[in-house]
């Protein structure tokens, strides 16, 4: 008899989401726009300044679920010439980096 594993879902590693948000530190201006972004790369904090906000948009989805998804995305041109997409989680106030 195989014991019932229904109560302990066993999937875990079999189905793994891609492009998960990665936490970053953002210093924002008084109007809420990011001024600088600090990422952790290979255990080292790397900061870069925001040169220009290319685009911004909001995402409000799954409002029917217990935890809805409310985010404000910014596509940023950094002083290094790199284009970075970050978002602010409007529920928790935390910042994340994520390709869109």
């Amino acid at each position: 008899m195989v014991s019932n594993p229904r109560k302990t879902p066993s999937i875990g590693g079999s189905y793994q989401p891609l492009n998960l948000p990665m936490a970053v530190q953002v210093v924002s201006t008084s109007d809420g726009q990011p001024a600088s972004v600090t990422e952790t790369r290979k255990g080292r904090a790397v900061s870069s300044r925001v040169e220009h906000v290319i685009d911004l948009w909001e995402l409000d989805d799954e409002w029917w679920r217990a935890t809805s998804v409310r985010r404000r995305y910014f596509r940023l041109l950094m002083d290094t010439g790199r284009v970075l997409t970050v978002f602010k989680d409007l529920s928790s106030g935390e910042w994340f980096r994520q390709e869109y």
Binding site: P5, G13, S14, P17, L59, Q98
Partner: protein, 413 residues
């Protein structure tokens, strides 16, 4: 023979309250049946509604009631769990209906100390699953049932083995409980035989003359004679596996891939013990907490996950396209139970073998073995997890980026 009847009154209602405790203080109506004509499956005792009453009628009588759609897959699964546990107490259990089981307990006093302790164990079994049960013990199946319906939760009724005592116990009970044809019951009421005591007072020949074989059976039952043997169930070997999606999926591709992954895994267990599967039960848990169940009995036992997958997906695609589709919201988890495991049947291989498929499987197996060995020496990774992954489109249209694609294991069979 000493038989215990374990009855869980209002099982659907108890399941609904367990899921949403705020319903405890409300009048609840649970319905099922076709969309066009739903009927009551269960309701709070205070509602005084009978099973099968039209939902419209029930709602007009109780406009304040909380109305819930029945989730029968859950009720069946929870009842199945109870029966499985009853089998731990006695090996002779009859699953008479959802919410009613008969357990042969004679001889178990030696094992558990006394009959009372055996009955207490049965009661604990249902309490452990969060159910209040009614338990009746009697020398036969029918009197045990009658004792159970007159019992109170945690206060079982045990009838003595003497036939006179059983007859006296049954005497005030209505004849409607007798397991007979409705026409025979109506005829008894026409003759003013409303209680079992009224029936017991008649001669067997008089009842037989009016009601035929039903008359004799009725007379025997009300006099405490029930030689019916229990139709006991066998504990079958089953394989159960579950796959929980990281988020609710609504695309057919993602669902198909999930089902395939799950079936691959479950059938690998079947192949390991060199068996074939006769029956497959698939349950999908949807994001609105409802369940959808699909059962398939294979014409010939199989150990092929591919065949099982094609059977399931053919059915799912048909169901999804129908107007009254039971899959109404995204799916959060799927589970499969493989039962009726028997000897594998030999299959004649095709004239044209799938060389490429075979080669790919071999390559995957070799790669998997190599990578697993490396990973294991490096970081003691779980051997059962495949290191070979593939990117699957889950909801490519989703506005939430992490919902669009997922990494799934590729397994060789």
């Amino acid at each position: 023979m000493s038989i215990a009847c374990v009855k869980i009154p209002h099982l659907p209602l108890q399941c609904a309250v367990a899921r949403a405790p705020e319903l405890r203080s409300k009048l609840v109506i649970i319905y099922h049946g076709e969309e066009a004509r739903p009927v009551v499956l269960d309701a709070s005792p205070d509602a005084h509604l009978r099973r099968g009453t039209s939902l419209i009628r029930a709602m007009s009588q109780h406009p304040e009631a909380a109305v819930i759609r029945a989730d029968e897959a859950v009720y069946d699964a929870r009842w199945h769990d109870v029966v499985e546990n009853l089998l731990n107490v006695s090996d002779r259990v009859e699953d008479a209906a959802r919410g009613c089981a008969f357990v042969a307990i004679d001889g178990l006093s030696e094992l558990y100390g006394s009959q009372d302790q055996t009955v207490a164990l049965l009661s604990e079994t249902t309490t452990k699953h969060g159910f209040e049960s009614l338990i009746g013990v009697a020398p036969g199946r029918f009197p045990a049932y009658c004792a159970a319906i007159r019992a109170q939760p945690y206060k079982p009724i045990s009838l003595p083995s003497s036939r006179t005592a059983v007859r006296e116990f049954l005497a005030p009970m209505p004849v409607d409980i007798l397991p007979l044809d409705t026409r025979a019951i109506e005829l008894m009421h026409d003759f003013a035989l409303d209680t079992m005591g009224d029936l017991a007072a008649q001669s067997v020949s008089a009842l037989q003359a009016q009601l035929g074989p039903d008359g004799r059976r009725a007379w025997e039952l009300v006099n405490g004679i029930d030689p019916t043997r229990l139709n006991t169930i066998e504990r079958l070997q089953t394989i159960i596996d579950t796959l929980q999606f990281p988020w609710p999926v609504a695309s057919m591709d993602a669902l198909s891939f999930g089902i395939r992954t799950l079936l691959d895994r479950a059938f690998t267990s079947v192949q390991r013990i060199d068996k074939a599967v006769g029956r497959m039960d698939l349950t999908c848990e949807m994001s609105d907490s409802e369940h959808w169940n699909y059962t398939h009995v294979f014409k010939e036992p199989t150990d092929s996950a591919m065949l099982a997958h094609s059977v399931v997906m053919t059915y799912v695609e048909t169901v999804v396209q129908s107007d009254a589709s039971p899959i109404r919201s995204p799916i959060e988890a799927i589970s499969v139970q493989l039962a009726r495991l028997g000897p594998a049947r030999a299959e004649q291989s095709g004239l044209w073998n799938e060389h490429e498929k075979g080669d790919l499987d071999t390559a995957l197996r070799q790669l998997s073995a190599q990578l697993n060995t490396k990973l294991n020496t490096k970081m003691s990774t779980n051997m059962t997890s495949s290191p070979i992954k593939t990117v699957v489109d889950v909801e490519p249209w989703s506005r939430i980026p992490e919902r669009r694609q997922a990494l799934a294991e590729v397994t060789s069979r």
